[in-house]
Symmetry: C2
Subunit: 203 residues, 2 copies
């Protein structure tokens, strides 16, 4: 055993490399990640990285597509669901994000910072924006508050959900223990929908 990661046990070499790449890229970013770091993390020979994925860049593109999907993929089905109320959507989105981000706290900062350093190639890969304007969600928002651009509420919802994870390295020292940080994020699952409803119905 020793250094072998649990999930790595029965994965194929290709999957091991992709897993390792995801870990290393997410932790350090593309520019700070070394193919040798990835090979070591995966426990494989460096040449295998190029054997299976041709290049660091190609491997990154594959990992990045998966990470973008993981971060924004949850949105589309919820936003487009005409059978749920606006309140239910707010609750679903929050619940999904908090649960997912507690498991992958550095996902948002990774995706957003990589998009920033390469916007022309990556920004258009995010699908959610494209469906947004025609979504049931936006329609419901406009019905409820016709005087405020619905994007404000979307920014607030995503901000309250994602920001505490984006800023985790700064917030953690304030909050003290990792455990207390988790506690607060769990509290927010109930609080964020309440706050969103307040903003929608007052002011």
């Amino acid at each position: 055993m020793a250094k072998v990661k649990k999930a790595e046990l029965d994965l194929s070499t290709e999957e091991k490399i992709k897993e390792a790449a995801s870990i290393v890229f997410t932790k350090k970013g593309y520019g700070n990640a070394r193919t040798r770091d990835i090979a070591e993390e995966a426990g494989i020979n460096l040449a295998l990285l190029n054997y299976y994925f041709r290049s660091k860049e190609k491997l990154f593109q594959i990992v990045m597509a998966e990470r973008i999907e993981k971060l924004f993929g949850v949105l589309a089905p919820i936003l487009n669901d005409a059978s749920t109320t606006l309140d239910e959507k707010l609750e679903k989105i929050t619940e999904n994000y908090v649960d997912m981000l507690l498991e992958h706290p550095d996902l948002p900062i990774f995706v957003l910072s990589e998009i920033r350093s390469n916007p022309e190639q990556l920004a258009n890969r995010v699908q959610a924006p494209k469906i947004l304007k025609e979504s049931a969600f936006v329609k419901q928002l406009m019905e409820r508050r016709s005087d405020i651009n619905p994007l404000h509420f979307i920014i607030n919802l995503l901000g309250m959900n994602l920001f505490p994870f984006v800023a985790k390295p700064v917030l953690q020292p304030i909050l003290g223990s990792e455990d207390f940080y988790r506690q607060m994020m769990v509290q927010r699952k109930k609080l964020i929908p309440v706050w969103m409803k307040l903003m929608l119905d007052h002011g």
Copy 2:
């Protein structure tokens, strides 16, 4: 003229390099930035970078300290001011952030992503957290809402202010023009304090 940046005109070589480094590091991140990029941006010979700053790493540390100060330095004086009301603080913080971030939109994602990729060295450089707990701001928050951890409100305030800039590359395509993006951010100067007050007084 041509490619010469306006601010660069009468700066000393040392200042030109620091300015260029700030631009290049902020746009690409440490790992993707090349000392040759910085030299070119500054319009100076590559060797001068090492002549004035010893190394890329040292130059980065200097730039980073300034960027952290720019992003979080505005907080301490406002948070500690016992002479202003909580509502005034919310308005001041929001006004300061929106104005500053419209000029430096990629500042938050830069600082936060660099801290993520090197937390042990950078996270403790942020001063704001240290003074936070003893601040007038936190006291006022606890007075107003004793049943909710004041950090929730701080997260929401920073999230609503910083997140739209952190996520700018993703949001921009939805909003369309740069001009419309600016418009929305200006709107938020009035909206965010209103929303914060709502959260504090209801729910």
